[in-house]
Homo-oligomer: 201 residues x 2
């Protein structure tokens, strides 16, 4: 018997404090993927979701560079990652490098919310992927400088994150130490992150 | 006849390039709100959605300071905003100041994705609000320094954005110049934000 990562999505590892749409509770960041190619139409649907995020003055600072499994840029993207991430993300259907524009298009002034807004766009992508039964996993474990160099990312853009997206795979095919970690992670209590009025530590 | 903002949500102002869950297309940032109090349980549900966002090493750098309409901190929060935003956000049911922790809890080192991750959490909040038929509108038009001072936000946190959330109101009750802007905004074409391989300008 094999366990698809989608089988172990659920509330048993996560404690809700208030009612919420299951969409948010059930989204998590698995590592087990099948190694199958991700159809281009699926990738475009993920990017379409990101496209409709809100941003300051509708700047839309987010940009997504991508390589699909089996295409010419795949190795370039995979080799940006630290070894730990290459181990599992090599079975993704597509890899993305997420970047953001630091200045407004209309006047060149600093757009202070460029990273914040790009995080919002990326969450749309993650949720759309979850709704499609895909694995979506963001990571910071890659060489940011090398990404800038090999992907020719201009100085006016910040390198934010990489993402691996793909079809769910078997947990048993992950290296043993990753199998234990293949569960939805918990969260801080709400009273630790939300305060009525002033900041409380 | 009055037009509720929720009546004009739709695809007529927005051009999809690929299929996507309507959740993402239909979310936008109206300004017309009713001025009614937002039940505390609704606010907690919004915050619960934010709570389950992903973050680097599961740091959960996001914090939400809030004031509900009619409570003691309301004026303090509203007065942080520029005049233009006070005009419409005064009819919100709750105001939030979103901040993010710049360092990891476990070792104090810089958490470079703190703004990016907090943007993701805020998008969960926005989408949960949309699913509840609420208005959720983020803004940068407020006094960041004053927010830090009056809400006693420590130096180790970045002030990211403010948000107004509330029950939908009548477009006709907005000042005339805002009525014209009360439509879902368009987006760049997908080919402007997503690139196969290297960056393209």
């Amino acid at each position: 018997m094999t366990t698809k990562v989608t089988d172990i999505v659920g509330t048993e590892h996560r404690k809700l404090e208030n009612s919420v749409n299951p969409l948010f509770l059930n989204r998590w960041s698995p590592r087990a993927m099948s190694g199958e190619e991700l159809p281009e139409s699926d990738l475009l649907t993920l990017l379409e979701a990101a496209r409709w995020a809100p941003s300051c003055f509708n700047l839309q600072p987010w940009r997504f560079l991508y390589a699909r499994q089996g295409t010419e840029n795949w190795d370039t993207f995979l080799n940006l990652m630290v070894e730990f991430n290459q181990t599992w993300a090599g079975k993704a259907g597509a890899l993305l490098v997420v970047i953001s524009k630091k200045t407004f298009d209309h006047n060149g002034k600093p757009a202070d919310t460029h990273s914040f807004d790009t995080g919002a766009a990326t969450q749309n992508l993650a949720l759309q992927g979850m709704l499609m039964g895909l694995v979506v996993h963001s990571m910071a474990g890659f060489d940011y400088d090398k990404a800038r160099e090999v992907l020719e990312i201009p100085e006016d853009f910040t390198v934010e994150a990489m993402m691996a997206v793909g079809l769910p795979g078997n947990v048993e095919d992950l290296p043993e130490e990753m199998q234990e970690r293949e569960v939805p992670s918990p969260r801080k209590e709400l009273q630790e992150i939300a305060f009525n009025g002033k900041f409380k530590s």
